[in-house]
């Protein structure tokens, strides 16, 4: 290995060590379970909104009758409310 190559390898090694150790040199606040729970609920909320929109589109394109749509929409919106309430509860903590 030439000197230039050796110097290059050393520089890369130094940069890698610096990069990997940087988080260890900075104190981080513990987020904990609440953050994970909130993120999961937010994902569930987005999924539920998507379901509500899908049901509406299904109704408008004739795949669901009025009665079926109303029942399904009520159910989905109730499920969405539960999720929103859970989000509110966790956010307050």
């Amino acid at each position: 290995m030439t000197f230039a190559s050796f110097a290059l390898v050393l520089a890369i090694l130094f940069a890698v060590v610096l990069f990997l150790s940087a988080p260890l040199r900075v104190a981080r606040a513990a987020g904990g379970d609440a953050r994970s729970e909130l993120a999961d609920l937010e994902a569930a909320r987005e999924a539920k909104y998507r379901e509500i929109r899908d049901a509406e589109l299904d109704h408008r394109t004739g795949k669901l009758s009025d009665a079926d749509y109303e029942a399904l929409d009520s159910t989905l919106r109730a499920e969405a409310i539960e999720i929103l309430r859970s989000i509110d509860t966790i956010s307050e903590l």
């Binding site: 009665a67 079926d68 029942a71 399904l72």
Partner: protein
């Protein structure tokens, strides 16, 4: 949507669906096993072929093309396939598509049968396949 008709017990419905699914899977598996063993042909090496070949039966001969054995005779391709372990080879007369990578020293598979009493094995039309080599030999300087 949430009607009040008398409905089958959900666990019974599940049991029926599971039974149907398992029956279909069993049918598929049986058909597969049957087709595999009935339509399959023995893959043999050169030494196995010489030992076991019977006229009228076809075999999938796998091995390496003997370097220097490749010749053309009209529309037929003549070559020898050597055994991976023993110092022997079998002659093959083949007609049909010749794969682009085909050459001496390459691993090939061809479906053959023996036309008794001729010792040469006849390759089935378009049954020759060649394994792609991982490297190309260096050109002469």
């Amino acid at each position: 949507m949430w009607d009040n008709r008398k409905r089958m017990d959900p666990s019974r419905k599940r049991a029926i669906r599971l039974t149907v699914a398992l029956a279909a899977a069993l049918l598929l598996a049986t058909a597969l096993i049957y087709v595999s063993f009935s339509a399959g042909r023995d893959e043999v090496t050169a030494s196995q072929l010489l030992r076991e070949a019977r006229p009228g039966h076809s075999y999938i001969l796998a091995g390496t093309v003997l370097v220097g054995s490749v010749r053309h005779a009209g529309d037929a391709l003549l070559f020898r396939i050597r055994d991976p372990r023993l110092p022997l080879s079998v002659p093959v007369r083949y007609t049909g598509i010749i794969p682009d990578p085909f050459a001496g020293g390459r691993a090939v598979m061809v479906t053959v049968h023996q036309q008794s009493p001729n010792p040469t094995f006849v390759g089935e039309q378009n049954s020759l396949t060649t394994k792609c080599p991982s490297k190309y030999q260096a050109k002469a300087a």
